[in-house]
């Protein structure tokens, strides 16, 4: 039970350390590059749009693999965010709708 709570088997730790190392590399990368090479406007545009694209990809995958409750919840969260511009409220609304649908309808 204790080991279930704490976790930390070698493969999980390896995954977390791998994520930490590449994340550190991105944080230091901009400072390091500027001292050595120039970041062209093209590279900057590619990186900036790629960052948004990765997030769009995750939302698209969630929608394609999701059930009706996911679609309704996601649609509600997006609509609420467009209107209210409050992420927390929008996400909470989406969750509530999905939970309600799964509880009572599906």
């Amino acid at each position: 039970m204790t080991s279930d709570l704490i976790g930390l088997n070698w493969i999980s730790v390896a995954a977390i350390v791998g994520m930490a190392v590449v994340t550190l590399a991105t944080r230091l990368g901009g400072f390091w590059l500027m001292g050595n090479v120039t970041i062209t406007p093209g590279i900057e545009r590619f990186l900036r749009h790629m960052a948004g694209g990765v997030l769009v990809a995750i939302v698209t995958a969630a929608a394609m693999n999701g059930d009706e409750a996911m679609w309704a919840g996601l649609a509600a969260a997006i609509a609420a965010m467009l209107i209210l511009r409050k992420p927390m409220t929008a996400i909470a609304l989406g969750m509530a709708i999905a939970v309600g649908l799964r509880q009572f309808l599906i």
Binding site: R27, G42, F46, I58, A62, M64, G66, P87, V99
Partner: protein
Amino acid sequence: MPDAIQQVEPQNSAPPSFTRSGVWHGMRLTVPFSISAFPFGVAFGAAAGAVMPPGDATLMSALVFAGSAQFAVLGLWTMPLPLVALTLTALLVNARHVVMGAALHPFFAGLPRRWVMLMAAGMTDGGWAITMQEVTRGRRDLGILAGTIIMQWPVWVGGTLLGALIGSAGLDPKRWGLDVLIAGVFATTVIGLYRGRGDILPWLAAIGGTAGALLWLPGNWYILIGGACAGLAGLWRHDK
């Protein structure tokens, strides 16, 4: 998240420094971010606690300290862990840091490199935005960035631990809407990133690339392909 970073060259401002008053100033400016980081930390912990032990979730928040990347890997966190896909996803989601660091670099030129690198290691979107705003106003104090880290890291890690203990109590993630929570975090982040029509084509390209990858390719290629499609579409649109 940076948008259209111009290379602002420091001019007519004090030389760069690292002062205690800068640290305090950074901490004060970060309070609103700390307040929102806590519930997000709890939410991440709860979602993570459903797929991994609380110890792993907390270690991840402590070492990776990057909310979007951490949420992004949760969908991939199934045994056996896909190490390459997990690492690659963290790299792609965090690639924006390169642009952010490059924009901040000139303002701290002249300070010892290891100070700058040490503080860069804890740079978040919020911390970057606060520091960038202050240095462009002439206050080139690396302590500000340090202050943003002091006010965010403990909150994020503590929130994760609390959420993970709740989430590991055998919750059914779908019944509690945790899958919608994860998708909603990204959907609202994307909307918050919108800076004008120039973003629409890259996002449509990402949707198209992702849908194609999910339909025709095995595994988790969709993240790489969606990101690459958006990056290329963003380049192409500006080259015309």
